[in-house]
C-alpha cells in the first residue's frame, strides 16, 4: 500500500526510512551495458538520451533516477545521476526504454554530447525513492534549469495518462497541475511541447527576461501563494532555489517536497558521499540522498 499524503501534511515523516531490510526487499535494480539508442538535442546544451531496457523501464517511478557512465572508460570514471524524464512504450504500450535529459556541464556530459548512437553506456537503476502519491486538488511543480527533468513523467502520472512501476502503481489524479519553469535564458528552455502534451499548465521565467516572467521562478511561486491558493509544491533545481521554495512554503503553510541533486558516486547506498542533513529527534543526521531521497519532505531537511 502506498502511504497517501492528503492536502495538509499533519504527520512528520522524517523517521529513518532506511529500515535496511525493507530497503533491500523493495529495491530491484538492473545493471546493464546498453547502446545509446538516441541522443537528440532539445535546447541549447541540452540533449535527450534514450536507452532500451524493458525490465528497468517497467519498474521506473517518477522521481527516481539512474546512474550512467561510458562503458570501458576510466576518465570520467564515476557514474553520474540522471532523473527519469520519460519511459518509452513499445507497440503494446509496455515500457521498454528510458529517456533522460542532460545539460552539458562538465566531464561526462561534454563527452555525452559528442557520443554517437550505438556507443555503449553502463547504466544502473531505477534508484532512489520517487515522488509521493498525493491526494490534493492542485500540484505546483517548480523547476530551476535542468531541475525540470523529473517532472514530465510525474505530470503524466498525475494526469492519469500513464501508470508507472511494476506492478503499476495507482495514484490519485490531481485535477490541476502547474509547472513553473525557470532558466537563465530562453534558449535553455527544453521540452515545452512535451510538458503541454502531458497536460501541464506551464508558466515560464527567464532571468534575462527573454521569455516569460523576467526574473526568478520563485517569484512566480510567491504570486500564486499570495493569491491564497493552497497547492502542494514540489521543487527540483539548484540548492539556493530549493531553499527559497521551502521558505515560501513554510511561510504560506503549504506542503513542500524537494528533489535534491546532491553529488553522488554510486547511487546505490554504498559510498556515503551523497549525504544531506535530515532532522531526527530534535537534532539532525547525515542521510544518504540516493536511498532515502532524492525526494524529501522539505520540513525534514536542515535548510
Amino acid at each position: 500500500m502506498l502511504p497517501l499524503v492528503r492536502g495538509k501534511v499533519d504527520r512528520m515523516s522524517c523517521s529513518r526510512s532506511t529500515d535496511l531490510a525493507e530497503l533491500a526487499g523493495a529495491r530491484s535494480i538492473s545493471v546493464a551495458e546498453v547502446p545509446v539508442a538516441e541522443n537528440e538535442p532539445l535546447a541549447r546544451d541540452t540533449y535527450r538520451l534514450r536507452i532500451y531496457h524493458p525490465p528497468m523501464a517497467r519498474r521506473f517511478l517518477p522521481g527516481q533516477f539512474l546512474m550512467l557512465r561510458l562503458a570501458d572508460c576510466d576518465d570520467p570514471l564515476i557514474g553520474r545521476a540522471f532523473a527519469l524524464y520519460d519511459t518509452v512504450l513499445d507497440e503494446r504500450g509496455e515500457p521498454c526504454g528510458v529517456d533522460v535529459v542532460y545539460l552539458v556541464k562538465g566531464k561526462l556530459t561534454r563527452r555525452l554530447a559528442r557520443t554517437p548512437v550505438g556507443q555503449r553506456v553502463l547504466v544502473w537503476g531505477p534508484l532512489g525513492n520517487s515522488f509521493p502519491p498525493i491526494a490534493v486538488d492542485e500540484v505546483v511543480m517548480v523547476a530551476g534549469g535542468i531541475g525540470q527533468t523529473p517532472f514530465l513523467a510525474w505530470a503524466r502520472e498525475l494526469a492519469g495518462q500513464r501508470m508507472f512501476g511494476e506492478p503499476p502503481r495507482r495514484v490519485p489524479v490531481v485535477p490541476r497541475r502547474l509547472l513553473l519553469y525557470g532558466t537563465r535564458t530562453a534558449d535553455l528552455l527544453a521540452g515545452l511541447e512535451a510538458f503541454a502534451q502531458a497536460g501541464l499548465e506551464v508558466q515560464l521565467a527567464t532571468e534575462d527576461g527573454s521569455r516569460g516572467h523576467a526574473g526568478r521562478v520563485t517569484e512566480l511561486l510567491e504570486k500564486i501563494l499570495q493569491c491564497g491558493k493552497r497547492p502542494a509544491v514540489v521543487a527540483c533545481g539548484p540548492d539556493p532555489m530549493l531553499a527559497a521554495v521551502a521558505q515560501l512554503c513554510f511561510q504560506y503553510e503549504v506542503p513542500c517536497w524537494v528533489s535534491l541533486e546532491t553529488p553522488m558516486a554510486c547511487g546505490i547506498g554504498i559510498c556515503f558521499s551523497c549525504v544531506a542533513r535530515v532532522r531526527q529527534d530534535g537534532d539532525w543526521d547525515y542521510r544518504r540522498t540516493c536511498v532515502e531521497g532524492p525526494v524529501f519532505d522539505a520540513r525534514c531537511l536542515v535548510w
Binding site: R27, V31, L77, A265, Y286
Partner: protein, 313 residues
C-alpha cells in the same frame, strides 16, 4: 576438452577463504545495499564499512570528488557506532553465505580491543580488519604511521580475542615495510594494503578546496601502481600474507596483485562505477589461472620474477 579443476581457495594466516575476491571496507556499504545486485555467496569474503566505538557523523559535504581516473573522498568514517552495528547490522551479516570480516577503527588501542571483544562474543565474525589507516579522521592514521603504535594495537587486539586479525595499512608513510613488520611481529595474521592516498582538489576560481574536509583519500585506477608497489615491497621482505587493495577493476588487475604478492584482493572504488564487477572477476579467475599455467591461486602468489641484481627497496 576436459578442464583441469582449479583451486581458488586461499589462506591468510588462520583465515581460509573460498576464493581471493573480496570487497574493500567502505565501498560495499553494509552489504545489504547490494542485495539483488551481487550474490555475495560467490565472493571470498565481505567487509562492511568501518565501525567505530561511538557514532560518528562523518565529514561535511562534498565528500567525494572525481579526479583523473580516480576518486577523492573524505567521508570521515560516517557510522552509527558499535552498539548499532551489533544490534542492526550483525544479525543480517552473520547469516550471509560468505565469510564476514569486520573492519574496526578505535581512537585508542583500548577501543580497538574492546570492539574486538564484543565482536568475538557476538559470533559470526570470521576475522577482524584493523583500520589503522583512514586519512579522513583526526588521528586516523596514527596507528598506521608509527610502528610502535601499530605494534601496540595489534598486540592488544590479539590478546583481547582469538579472531584472525588483518592490519590495514596506509601508503602515506615513509616505509610501509616497517609498519607491516610491526604488525607481523605482534601476531597479525595478515596485512591489507592500501588504504587511500592522501590528496586534495582545488577550485581555483572560487579559491576553495572541493572537499568539505579539504584533504581526502585518493582511490581507483589512479592509485594501482602505488598499491602494487606496496604489496611488492612487503612481499619481498616479509612472509606475512597480504590482501591487495587499490584500483582493482579487471581480472588483469587481480592477477597483477597476486603475482606481486597478494594472497587475496579487495575491490573498492570499482564497486561504485561497476556494481557487479566482483562477480565478473570471480567468473574470470579460473580462466586467468589456466592461462598462467597454474591450478591453484596459491601457486601464483608472489611469483613475480625479478632479476637478482635488483635492489628490492
Amino acid at each position: 576438452m576436459e578442464q583441469p579443476a582449479v583451486d581458488l581457495s586461499v589462506s591468510l594466516g588462520r583465515l581460509q577463504l573460498p576464493n581471493p575476491i573480496t570487497v574493500a571496507s567502505g565501498t560495499f556499504g553494509y552489504i545489504r545495499e547490494m542485495e539483488g545486485i551481487v550474490d555475495v555467496g560467490r565472493l571470498g569474503a565481505v567487509i562492511p564499512k568501518t565501525v567505530t566505538w561511538q557514532k560518528r557523523l562523518g565529514n561535511a559535504p562534498w565528500r567525494t570528488v572525481e579526479t583523473a581516473a580516480g576518486l577523492l573522498n573524505s567521508i570521515g568514517l560516517d557510522n552509527d557506532g558499535i552498539d548499532y552495528f551489533l544490534a542492526e547490522h550483525l544479525p543480517y551479516l552473520r547469516r550471509l553465505p560468505t565469510k564476514l570480516i569486520v573492519s574496526i577503527a578505535g581512537r585508542t588501542a583500548d577501543e580497538f580491543a574492546r570492539m574486538a571483544e564484543r565482536l568475538e562474543a557476538a559470533g559470526g565474525v570470521a576475522a577482524l580488519e584493523l583500520n589503522i589507516s583512514c586519512p579522513n579522521v583526526a588521528h586516523g592514521t596514527d596507528f598506521g604511521a608509527d610502528p610502535v603504535k601499530c605494534a601496540e594495537v595489534v598486540r592488544l587486539v590479539r590478546s583481547a580475542c582469538d579472531l584472525p586479525v588483518i592490519a590495514k595499512l596506509s601508503p602515506n608513510v615513509t616505509s610501509i615495510v616497517e609498519i607491516a613488520e610491526a604488525a607481523e611481529q605482534n601476531g597479525a595474521d595478515a596485512v591489507s594494503m592500501i588504504n587511500t592516498v592522501l590528496g586534495m582538489a582545488v577550485d581555483w576560481r572560487r579559491r576553495r578546496p572541493l572537499l568539505g574536509n579539504v584533504l581526502g583519500g585518493l582511490s581507483g585506477p589512479a592509485v594501482k601502481p602505488i598499491a602494487l608497489r606496496c604489496v611488492y615491497q612487503v612481499r619481498s621482505r616479509l612472509s606475512i600474507p597480504i590482501m591487495g587493495i587499490g584500483g582493482i577493476a579487471s581480472i588483469d588487475d587481480v592477477m597483477e596483485f597476486i603475482v606481486a604478492g597478494a594472497s587475496a584482493v579487495q575491490v573498492g572504488t570499482a564497486n561504485y562505477y561497476d556494481p557487479q564487477v566482483t562477480l565478473r572477476l570471480v567468473t574470470q579467475l579460473p580462466g586467468a589461472l589456466q592461462e598462467a599455467g597454474v591450478t591453484s591461486v596459491r601457486d601464483l602468489v608472489g611469483t613475480l620474477r625479478v632479476a637478482d641484481e635488483v635492489d628490492r627497496g
